[in-house]
């Protein structure tokens, strides 16, 4: 099909004897479009432990965090522990944050039933602070197993995602202030940003 020119009816002043009077006039405009797309994107940077405001924090090696002393040396009660872990994070669409614990608490590496009068697990809380909202994951150390908590975010967001790790003094999977058995205790935290 031949292109149709954008011709406006020529400026006509009607029938005249001599000369022409014409008003300014315009051809019909041509409209073009600029088109692009932005894909969905979430990014999560490397964990950065805020050592300045921490309590009972030991060595930090990459993504591995040591608690300086999990138990009081004389009473073997759990020592209070507190530190924040920051992540540079971006999501350019509505999304959710999920924090999960592999074990559901800090458990002694060699399990089995604890000796009478002793505990072999330490509960803790991990709070996710992101996009002006918070959610708390409890890792009660009741039994070994994964637990998780999700925060839904109804807007794009960018900035610092903070995980606040807290252990209360005397907390254990026995009664409060139960002495802890000796040995290494461990859990793995996972933070995920993604679609709702």
């Amino acid at each position: 099909m031949a292109p149709v020119p954008h011709l406006f009816a020529a400026c006509i002043a009607g029938l005249m004897v001599q000369g022409v009077g014409a008003s300014a006039c315009a051809a019909a405009p041509v409209v073009l479009t600029a088109q692009g797309q932005t894909p969905k994107l979430c990014t999560l940077g490397e964990p950065q432990v805020n050592q300045g405001g921490a309590t009972n924090l030991g060595a930090v090696t990459g993504a591995s965090v040591d608690i300086a002393q999990l138990a009081e040396p004389t009473t073997l009660r759990t020592k209070a522990t507190a530190f924040d872990i920051n992540f540079d994070a971006v999501c350019n669409y509505v999304h959710k944050v999920t924090i999960s614990s592999d074990n559901g608490g800090l458990f002694r590496a060699t399990l089995g039933s604890p000796r009478p009068g002793f505990a072999n697990g330490v509960p803790y809380q991990a709070t996710v602070d992101w996009a002006d909202e918070e959610t708390v994951m409890l890792a009660p150390a009741a039994s070994v197993g994964q637990t998780s908590q999700t925060l839904t975010v109804g807007n794009p967001a960018a900035g610092t995602l903070t995980v606040k790790f807290r252990i209360d003094a005397g907390a254990s999977n026995g009664a409060a202030n139960t002495p802890l058995m000796a040995g290494p205790y461990r859990d793995t935290l996972r933070v995920t940003l993604g679609p709702q």
């Binding site: 954008h6 029938l15 405009p29 350019n92 900035g159």
Partner: protein
């Protein structure tokens, strides 16, 4: 093709009494015509949609979420077959590329708009331009500079887009959207 418009001609005949004498006689006629001033804007060769991409994925750098490096179009566009039979003015008015599916105002540090410059060349000595001025939501007026061609002109017009930048500031990240769109309107008019 130009159409010649001929105003009505006034034909006056002298109608003297018939001269029976042998002297030659003559009559004078004046024929008048006029051509109206007119412009015609031709047609776009190929697609009338510019595809805008960057060195990243679509419009963004996936490492940062910011506007990607070296944003550019898939080429200039040509409007062929335009003419004006008198002095004319060419102008362009562009609107920012705005995310079509993101409702409302984007959150702080985000933008749903991309600004750019549209240039229209080949008609006047200098290009007519439009620089869009959208904020993070795409609101804001464009700065347009028209150009005049003092002589009758016929030929091709080239439209080019450049200088892409995130609305509201380069530190804003773009919200995800499969369709960011902006319009570029080219106008050709008889100049007063």
């Amino acid at each position: 093709m130009l159409k010649l418009l001929i105003g009505s001609a006034l034909i006056a005949l002298a109608c003297p009494a018939v001269a029976l004498a042998a002297n030659p006689t003559s009559a004078t006629l004046t024929i008048n015509g006029s051509v109206s001033q007119a412009c015609s804007l031709g047609s776009v060769t190929g697609s009338s949609t510019f595809a805008v991409t960057t060195g990243g994925s679509g419009l963004i750098d996936t490492a940062t979420g910011l506007l990607g490096s070296n944003p550019q179009t898939d080429g200039n566009r040509t409007i062929t077959g335009s003419w004006c039979n008198t002095k004319s003015t060419i102008s362009v008015a562009a609107a920012p590329m705005v995310a079509q599916n993101f409702a409302g105002t984007p959150p702080s540090t985000f933008s749903k708009a991309v600004n750019y410059t549209a240039s229209v060349s080949g008609w006047a000595a200098s290009a007519a331009t439009s620089v869009t001025g959208g904020d993070a939501s795409g609101a804001g007026s464009s700065t347009n500079v028209a150009q005049t061609q003092t002589s009758p002109q016929a030929g091709d017009i080239t439209v080019a887009l450049s200088n892409f930048a995130t609305g509201g500031g380069a530190s804003n990240r773009l919200v995800a959207d499969p369709s960011y769109q902006g319009s570029i309107t080219v106008t050709l008019a008889v100049a007063p």
